[in-house]
Every structure is written in structure tokens, then in C-alpha cells.
């Protein structure tokens, strides 16, 4: 059953949280089936709270799955590994380290690179994300967009096979976000890494991805898969392409159905407070 073209394969993945206060299990993700092909850029969209972050954390190996199977190159994921690297929603930078020190933190934690090599490679990576000149700046001296560049560079420096991105641009203003999307695509086409990108921004998903997967409301499942047949390289103008707008409508409708849930069903599904 193992699909050779699959980098990541999820089969019936269920993820549960133990709610200490109510002493119950809370299902955040309910039977996700999906495949991320090698070299593919896959985006997951879905209403907020539907379990996107939870699923991505499981792919990263930070949290266990309750049932189903989640494999990377055919091997079950059980813990974080150097084959994956996460770009977090919150940049998570060490405030007492400079940009250079933060970019090096990933390889330092993995012990995968000597110090001298790490420094010179980190500098290249900083160039790649457009931060040259800021090597010695501290995170608190950077804007949100620049912090996310550091976050991205830190992940890239570990040279993972698969890049996991959890709404990395969600907290940025609209213009910075668009620039970052453009840059990310440039970097992705240069590095050819498999990417799993999570967002709640439909335009962002379509603009970036080869395929967009829509999650249902919580507990999250795959609701819809949309192939994005827009040619690459894509510049920002593609967002006004009629085909783009068609995709956007299709996905928007699909998410609307999830949001328009009778109130009693929402309440029934909520964890006891």
C-alpha cells in the first residue's frame, strides 16, 4: 500500500488531547488521510481551531497520534528528526541571541554541523532570506517580518527534506505577508524541498501550493482536495487571474459550509469547560 511518490502519508490519523480539568479525551483530529508527494508544496486550510496545528505537530513528531498511521518515507513518525524542520507561527527566537546565533540554533540542537561550518552556512542562509546586514541584531530589534525570516532561515539551515510551516505569515501586515510569500516561493523553487504549509488564508494557500487541502471544522478531517494548476514561477499578479479566483471561490464555499454549523452541534462538540 506504500505509495513510492509519497514523502508523507497519513492514514486515518486521530489525535486526542487529554483534558485534565474534565478528565476526558478531546478529539482534535479525526481520521486524516492525505499524502504529500516528494517535492510537492501542499497547503492545508481550514477554519481556526480545526486541528491544523495539532496535525502539523504530529508530523513534526512533537505529539503522538492516537490511531492511524503517519509515515515519512514509509517509516512511522515517532519523534522529531533532522529530516523535518518546522517554521513556527510564533517565531520562537532566543531573545538573548543575535540573528546569526538564532539561525544556528537548529543545527546546534541537532549537532549536525561543526561550528565554523555552521557560521558560514548560516550567513549564506541569512542572505537567502534577505537579512544580510542584520546578523548581529537581536530579535527584539527586528520587525515581525524579519523575525519570521530568521525563523525560516533557522529551519532551512538544518537542510530538512520536508519543511513544515504553521501559519508563518499570519501575524504580518498584508504587504509584508505578500512579500514573504513571494520570497518563500523563490526559496522553495531553489531548494526543492517538500513543503507542508498551514494557513487559514485561502489566497495564500492557492498562491503557494500545488494542492490545497481543506479541513473540516474540528475534529479535523480532509474535506476537499484542490489541484492548483497555475503555472510556475508565479508572481503576485497571479492572484488576480480568473482561474485563481475560481479556486478561491471553490475553497471559500467549502470552508463556509464548515462555518455554517447549527449552534447546538457546535456546542455538543465543544470540550467541557
Amino acid at each position: 500500500m506504500y505509495d513510492r511518490s509519497a514523502k508523507l502519508a497519513a492514514n486515518g490519523v486521530v489525535i486526542e488531547y487529554w483534558m485534565q480539568r474534565s478528565r476526558t479525551l478531546f478529539t482534535a483530529v479525526q481520521g486524516v488521510d492525505l499524502v504529500v508527494r516528494t517535492g510537492e508544496f501542499l497547503a492545508i486550510v481550514g477554519p481556526s481551531g480545526c486541528g491544523k496545528t495539532t496535525f502539523l505537530n504530529a508530523v513534526d513528531g512533537l505529539i503522538p497520534i492516537a490511531s492511524g498511521s503517519l509515515t515519512l518515507d514509509g517509516r512511522e513518525i515517532s519523534k522529531p528528526g533532522p529530516d523535518r524542520a518546522m517554521v513556527f507561527q510564533q517565531p520562537g527566537l532566543l531573545p538573548w541571541r543575535t540573528v546569526l546565533g538564532n539561525v544556528m540554533f537548529g543545527v546546534e540542537a541537532q549537532r549536525s554541523m561543526g561550528k565554523q561550518e555552521a557560521i558560514s552556512r548560516a550567513k549564506q542562509q541569512i542572505d537567502l532570506v534577505g537579512l544580510s546586514g542584520f546578523e548581529d541584531a537581536y530579535p527584539l530589534e527586528l520587525s515581525g517580518g524579519m523575525q519570521q525570516r530568521v525563523n525560516l532561515a533557522r529551519a532551512l539551515l538544518t537542510d530538512p527534506e520536508m519543511l513544515l510551516l504553521d501559519e508563518p505569515f499570519a501575524s504580518l501586515d498584508a504587504q509584508t505577508r505578500e512579500m514573504m510569500q513571494l520570497e518563500l516561493l523563490k526559496i522553495w523553487s531553489k531548494t526543492k524541498k517538500t513543503a507542508l504549509f498551514i494557513t487559514h488564508d485561502i489566497k495564500e494557500a492557492i498562491y503557494l501550493a500545488d494542492r490545497v487541502i481543506v479541513f473540516t471544522r474540528r475534529p479535523g478531517r480532509v474535506k476537499k482536495v484542490v489541484e492548483i494548476a497555475l503555472s510556475r514561477p508565479r508572481d503576485l499578479r497571479v492572484k488576480r487571474d480568473p482561474q485563481f479566483l475560481t479556486y478561491e471561490d471553490e475553497i471559500w464555499e467549502s470552508i463556509q459550509e464548515e462555518l455554517a454549523v447549527p449552534a447546538e452541534r457546535l456546542i455538543a462538540g465543544m470540550p467541557a469547560a
Binding site: 513556527f88 534577505g130 542584520f134 524579519m146 501586515d173
Partner: protein, 285 residues
């Protein structure tokens, strides 16, 4: 224009403007601003001393009751001319160095362990809370029974005085490590040892130094009260005798020595704290 705005306006070519120069031009205060704290602080002290001197000069009260700053200064000079003060200072200094030094080392170790190992914290919490909520000085009579009136009993009370604030603050520092940072470290497969050294420890430094600073106050209280009650030598003992013999200026001179020690130690720790926090952008006024 701040760096933040520069990035907004021109996000892709972030490297174009010289970041270092920009940063410096923002932070560097004018010459007067730079010395403002010292100048205003000095003026304020001079004002207080002047008022004190004027009130004392009015001689509504006797010198015994209210000596002026000038009387205290003269007493201070005399104190150092007589020479006994050196033995007193050496004694108190020794007590402080040993007691406070041990408190720093042990407090740091216990605090870090309690912050890192939850079970160790469960084991230690009742004990630490007991001592933290007790005035440790109340144990002095016991220490005198155990160790006599030489420096050992004072060392014990200084040690216990400073130990618990250091433990509590160090532990709080470890416990306050940002969950997001731990998540990042785990995601990159960091070992526990690396997480401790590179994430938890540097993040705890401000808390630890705050603990050290609080410890100074408790340690000095231990010196003075310990020696007031029973001692052969020491600045606290000097205060006790000067007080009992109505040498009020001399007594105040000794108090100033203690206060000066506290201020010096606190300032050193404050400097260290600022040094470790150099990554924090200056608050612009």
C-alpha cells in the same frame, strides 16, 4: 525612522540601509541625558544632607539624640584612625563572604534542580516554604547554642537568610521558560542538557540575579542582627556598643558602612543584570 518601519516600507531589500548605524543613532542619548541620573541623584542626596545638617544645627535636640551629617563624618574619620574598625570589618566581611557565598552556590544549585526536576520540587517545596516564611533570624539563639558566639553562628544565619530568596527566584526563572522556546528546541531534537544550557539557563539569569540581590539584603540583616545579639567583633557589634554607650555619631557611621556595603553589592549585581540584558532595546524617552 526605526528598523521596523524600514522593513515595512521596503521588506525585500532589508539589507540596504546600514542597520548598525541606524540603531546607534536611535539609542545614543545626548550628553546631558546620559549624566542626568547621576546629576539628579547627587542633587537629591545633597538636599537631604543639607536639611539634616540645618535641623541638627538648630540644636533643638542634643548631639546624642540627633547628630548632624558633619558629626557622623567626623566620627567616621575617627573610627578609621583608631584602628579597631579594621578587625570589625574583617570579621563582618568574613561572615558575609562565607555565608553569602555559600548561599549563592547552594541556592543556585537547589533552585535550578527544583525548577528542572518537578519531583525534586515536590520534595523540597514544604521545606523551602517553611524556611522562606520564617524569619530565619529567629533561629539565631539555636545557632549560638550550636556554634557559639564566634563567626560560625553568624555565618549560619547569614547563609539561611540569603539562601531561600535565591532558591525561590532561581526556581521561578527555570519555571518561567517560555513554552514556545521549549517547543522550538524539542522540534530541532535538542537534548535535555542542551535545552538546559542554551535555553533555560540563559533565560533564568535575570531571575537568578534578582534572587542574589534580594539575598544581599537578607545577608546584611543577618550580619547586623547576629552581631547585635552576641559577638566578639564586627561592625554590627560596633553598632551595638556605640548605641549602648550613647556614641550616636559613631553608631551612625557604622550603619553607613553597612549601607555602603549593601549598595556596592547591589550595584555590582545590577550592572551584571544589565550586561546580560544588553539584547533588550533601550527604552527610548
Amino acid at each position: 525612522m526605526s528598523i521596523k518601519e524600514a522593513d515595512r516600507a521596503n521588506p525585500v531589500t532589508a539589507g540596504e540601509s546600514d542597520p548598525t548605524r541606524e540603531r546607534r543613532s536611535l539609542v545614543k542619548p545626548s550628553r546631558i541625558r546620559q549624566y542626568e541620573p547621576v546629576v539628579i541623584g547627587t542633587l537629591s542626596v545633597m538636599f537631604v544632607l543639607t536639611v539634616w545638617q540645618l535641623v541638627a544645627n538648630a540644636r533643638i535636640y542634643s548631639v546624642l539624640f540627633l547628630p548632624g551629617p558633619w558629626d557622623v563624618a567626623q566620627a567616621m574619620v575617627k573610627l578609621f584612625q583608631q584602628g579597631d574598625i579594621w578587625l570589625d570589618m574583617a570579621t563582618s566581611g568574613q561572615e558575609l563572604a562565607i555565608g553569602y557565598g555559600m548561599a549563592i552556590i547552594l541556592g543556585l544549585v537547589i533552585g535550578l534542580l527544583m525548577g528542572w526536576y518537578t519531583r525534586f520540587q515536590y520534595a523540597m517545596d514544604p521545606i523551602v516554604n517553611f524556611f522562606y516564611s520564617t524569619p530565619r533570624i529567629a533561629l539565631l539563639p539555636l545557632f549560638i547554642i550550636w556554634f557559639g558566639i564566634d563567626i560560625q553562628s553568624k555565618i549560619a544565619v547569614i547563609f539561611l537568610g540569603a539562601l531561600f530568596p535565591i532558591i525561590i527566584n532561581t526556581m521561578a526563572g527555570v519555571r518561567n521558560t517560555e513554552a514556545a522556546l521549549l517547543g522550538v528546541a524539542r522540534s530541532f531534537g535538542a537534548s535535555d542538557a542542551l535545552i538546559f544550557r542554551r535555553v533555560v539557563l540563559p533565560g533564568s539569569v535575570p531571575f537568578i540575579l534578582t534572587g542574589f540581590r534580594l539575598g544581599v539584603g537578607h545577608a546584611l540583616t543577618g550580619v547586623v542582627v547576629g552581631e547585635l545579639i552576641a559577638a566578639r567583633h564586627g561592625v554590627g557589634q560596633l553598632i551595638a556598643i556605640a548605641g549602648q554607650t550613647f556614641q550616636t555619631p559613631k553608631m551612625l557611621a557604622a550603619v553607613i558602612l553597612i549601607a555602603g556595603t549593601g549598595m556596592v553589592l547591589t550595584t555590582i549585581l545590577q550592572r551584571m543584570e544589565n550586561r546580560f540584558q544588553s539584547w533588550r532595546p533601550q527604552i527610548r524617552r
